[in-house]
Assembly symmetry: C2
Homo-oligomer: 594 residues x 2
């Protein structure tokens, strides 16, 4: 059986930074060559970053991507690495000038062949059918006597098409390049999928995925090689860049046709039989390489890592070094501050305490204690003088007066960020309060990035406790003051206010939201499933009314799929009411008063 040394490069790219991405790709190819690899796989759209959205429609950008892939092939050759077979994802265009999501095969200083993604996802965070022309041809490249079939991400998730075509072609290895965003508990789904597809094709499957944050998305890596019998032959780490190496004994190819007619898969198969001698600068080392078998993170560690990487990369990729945030002493801003310290270093985090008329003593002391534990920059600005100045001119009461306090705080954060920046303000809203509209527009909702916008309130507490335990295990100071975790949540915008004055208990609320928002379950179905009818009615009404506020929310890290970013697209003017399907009224005005 022919032997192939495979290198999966799970790297961190930046959308649009074509040359920087190409430099990184070259660097990983060098490392792969040093390890004696024959075949290097780089992720989907590695040269352009993912997702490029409307950049795909810009002629100059497509030109740059096409130029970059040719140049990468030339540079490899110039450095004596032309013998490597490199598969790299990038943006290209078809003869009719429509954009394509492509994986090109580089060898001998040239772009030898390319595979265009067949199944274009157009749901959730994906809009590929909007941009790309689907490919109709399977590409098989013979490398050291092994027929390597190519596929891109969604091609693996859909039945029929490329996976089937790879089987028809009798592939010895299915190489799949991916840009698959992190979802909580998605890893197991991916592994099972990869196992099933490897079995269907009857050969090992190599899966390489991006790493890193891109706006709302986080890519988690987790590249792997799985045998046809389901055995995991190699697995990369989560959330960090890595080169995953594997030595594979693969079936020798015997087919001689360069093209197969359309089979049951609906695709033609094109075969590159002779791409020239595959060689590596060093002779293939006699010793097998060490194949990584990274351990899976547990549930909370995984989510925490996604949040930290999402914030870190958003800042790094946007030229932001420091962040400002308001510290109320509550659990949300405390967790965000802790994540920010982990992501950027405490020296780059500025916490501002803004006590007001109804702030409790523990709000001040818990915020100061957080600063002491983490080492972040801490300052206090009382809001009374500004609030008084507004109230003298405006005579406010009720919700208007509550909102005013939140907005004065936001003006302070933005002013400090503008004055002492360049920086951004972090919004500390969680998924639960965002869903039900329990926040002030232009007040606590202010910020350029919302690290926990996809974290339900109950998970906020879980993560805070987990982070403290982690610190304890490492002999470090737990960042979150105990009082912050145990005290009853309150916005402290009026005397004696408690969240439960307005909201159901968070344990209950989060379960209803997971059903209504997370799985689009209707009111009737929820009641049938055992939820209290009045409670569900109340929550659904809040959610339906909060859509307007959600539309103005800043981007932030996602930890699951069904969140409130691009993937939940509801009209603002929306007369549909689950709670009154007959005569649903629309009312933005209900939510502009936050």
């Amino acid at each position: 059986m022919p032997h192939l040394r495979l290198a999966l490069a799970q790297l961190n790219t930046t959308v649009g930074a074509v040359e920087a991405n190409a430099d990184a790709a070259l660097e990983w190819c060098r490392a792969a060559a040093r390890s004696g690899a024959d075949l290097v796989l780089l992720p989907e759209m590695a040269l352009t970053g993912y997702p490029v959205e409307d950049l795909a429609l810009r002629t100059s950008f497509v030109d740059a991507s096409v130029a970059a892939v040719g140049r990468l092939a030339e540079r490899l050759e110039t450095e004596g690495l032309g013998g490597l077979v490199v598969v790299v994802g990038h943006l290209d265009r078809a003869a009719d000038r429509r954009p394509e999501n492509k994986a090109s095969v580089l060898h001998g200083g040239r772009v030898l062949a390319g595979y265009e993604k067949h199944h274009l996802p157009n749901y959730g965070v994906f809009d590929e059918y909007r941009y790309f022309r689907p490919g109709t041809e399977m590409l098989v490249v013979r490398v050291r006597g092994v027929d390597v079939a190519l596929a891109i991400c969604e091609d693996l998730w859909q039945d029929g098409g490329p996976v089937q075509a790879a089987a028809e072609a009798g592939a010895g290895l299915l190489a799949v390049v991916n840009a698959s965003p992190y979802e909580s508990a998605k890893d197991d789904v991916r592994l099972e999928l990869v196992r099933r597809r490897a079995a269907e094709v009857g050969c090992p499957l190599a899966y390489v995925n991006l790493v890193g944050g891109q706006d709302e998305l986080v890519f988690d890596g987790d590249s792997m090689v799985v045998a046809a019998d389901g055995e995991v032959l190699a697995r990369g780490p989560q959330f960090v860049e890595s080169l995953v190496l594997a030595d594979l004994e693969l079936a020798a190819a015997t087919a001689t046709e360069v093209a197969l007619p359309v089979g049951p898969s609906g695709m033609t198969v094109r075969r590159v039989l002779d791409l020239g001698p595959v060689s590596t600068p060093a002779a293939t080392p006699p010793q097998p390489v060490e194949t990584p078998m990274a351990e899976r993170l547990d549930r909370l560690a995984e989510i925490h890592a996604a949040l930290v990487l999402g914030l870190r990369d958003y800042c790094a990729k946007n030229g932001i070094r420091t962040v400002f945030l308001g510290l109320s002493g509550g659990i949300d801003s405390t967790l965000v501050a802790s994540i920010a310290c982990d992501a950027l270093g405490a020296e780059n985090v500025h916490g501002i305490s803004n006590p007001g008329a109804w702030s409790s003593e523990h709000s001040r002391s818990d915020a100061a204690e957080l600063a002491r534990r983490t080492g972040l920059h801490f300052s206090t600005v009382e809001i009374a003088p500004m609030v008084d100045a507004f109230e003298a001119a405006l005579e406010l009461d009720g919700v208007a007066a509550e909102n005013l306090q939140a907005r004065v705080r936001a003006v302070i954060w933005m002013a400090r960020s503008n004055q002492d920046g360049p920086s951004i303000v972090l919004a500390c809203g969680n998924k639960t309060e965002l869903a039900v509209g329990y926040s002030t527009i232009y007040g606590d909702a202010v910020g350029g990035f919302a690290p926990i916008k996809d974290v339900p309130k109950t998970l906020v507490w879980e993560l805070a406790r987990w982070r403290n335990e982690q610190a304890g295990r490492r002999g470090e100071t737990p960042p979150v003051p105990e009082g912050t975790i145990t005290k009853e949540p309150s916005a402290e915008l009026r005397p004696g206010q408690r969240d439960t004055d307005t909201l159901p208990p968070y344990e209950v609320l989060d379960r209803v939201l997971e059903s209504y928002v997370g799985t689009d379950t209707g009111l009737g179905e929820m009641v049938a499933a055992g939820f209290d009818a009045a409670l569900v009615q109340r929550v659904v009404q809040m959610v339906d009314r909060a859509e307007y506020k959600r539309r103005q929310y800043p981007p932030g890290t996602k930890i699951s799929f069904k969140a409130f970013g691009r993937d939940r697209r509801l009209p603002i003017t929306n007369g549909w009411r689950e709670t009154d399907p007959g005569r649903g009224g629309v009312s933005v005005s209900d939510v502009t008063d936050a």
Copy 2:
């Protein structure tokens, strides 16, 4: 030749308000019956409104739509209108439970047959491929001896498919139901398209379109009937609801097959030969009906009508009666105030003047003069006390101090809106300043709706002049003070500030933006087309950096397609720079200081 009396009902629907939309549909059918119509066409998705976005994925919503169309058929029958043939657009589901964009034929108290949209647009503001299963079958219904073929909106814009299938079926009339949003200068494009398709099919084409504002979109009606030789037989008005009637002499159908095999169109044809007797409650009147031939509005009248309707419907459909806005005495807020008065009545418009340290005398007097001319509610709140209170605590200078003034104003507007509402604040930013980031986040960018967010600055002046001329022609007071139109634009956030300190002259800037943003033209191409290289470089840099701010901008009325709403989707973390394709840097921090 058989005679058919046709009624095109261009009505104003609300997304989600299924029962209210069905009531309106019934009301228009009654009116059509009173006029002796045989065949009534209601627009695409008339029962659900358009676009429904993720509501299409909600089981309970699809159920409601399906129930509504059946109930409408029953109600027609109950009222003695079962003899009418009614074609109405709505959301449905296929056997595999995927949502469909459907036009159903109602007659005799039943839903007789349905046509599923074949070409699903997935560009610009459209995301239909994301939601709907495409249909593969052409439907032809014989009405009074005439074979009427059905199609939905995009089916008309794409070559092949339904138009071709209608020709293969030998249709005597092609009836197309639409939800086609307004774009400036789109009318002529539509008319030419309808003419071309009528010629291709070889029979008259009836085109019915929605009217009304839905979030960022405005539907303009402009329904029409065009003969095979291109003659316009009837045309409805723009931007108002209307029943367009036409008497048509059409070719008698002779075909007897109920199904045609797949032809060159790629679609099968299904024919309903006998739907039962078509009758109207009144005998068909001997006199021909009066067929409307609405005149086209000129360019500025059309745009102004779109802006007024967009704001009026956003408020009406969201339960908002009053609006608040800051009046600076400048052209942008003045035009918005004038549009708001036209849309909602001056009695529902609250203008607030917020003079600051650098406000000129004419800022105050022009704002007061605007109030006097229009009759809107006017008040003045000086910002000095609040600004002083912040500055005492924060010590700000430069851009941070400028932003502070803008944000204090926004807090005042929001507080007044919260206190005296329910209402929303209107954001007065125009397309030009939005594109280049010349505004303060959480300052002048604040608002629930931005009426002129798609109006370039030069067009703002044109519209202001046009509105004054209109008033003059009608013998009314021109709303816009002359000084507001003629004075040099300034943000007045520092002494002697002028827009041209930061921006190129607006005439030049708007031309560059039309090219770069409007048509996605690259920097090289723009320079080749004669633009000054340094100027283009400067503008493009500003636009690329302003993306972050744009993402947080509230929705507002669109007047053209390539705007900054959902249809321009760029990653925030975007390393691509036209001005430096090699090493594009990303820098959100450049724009958070507004």
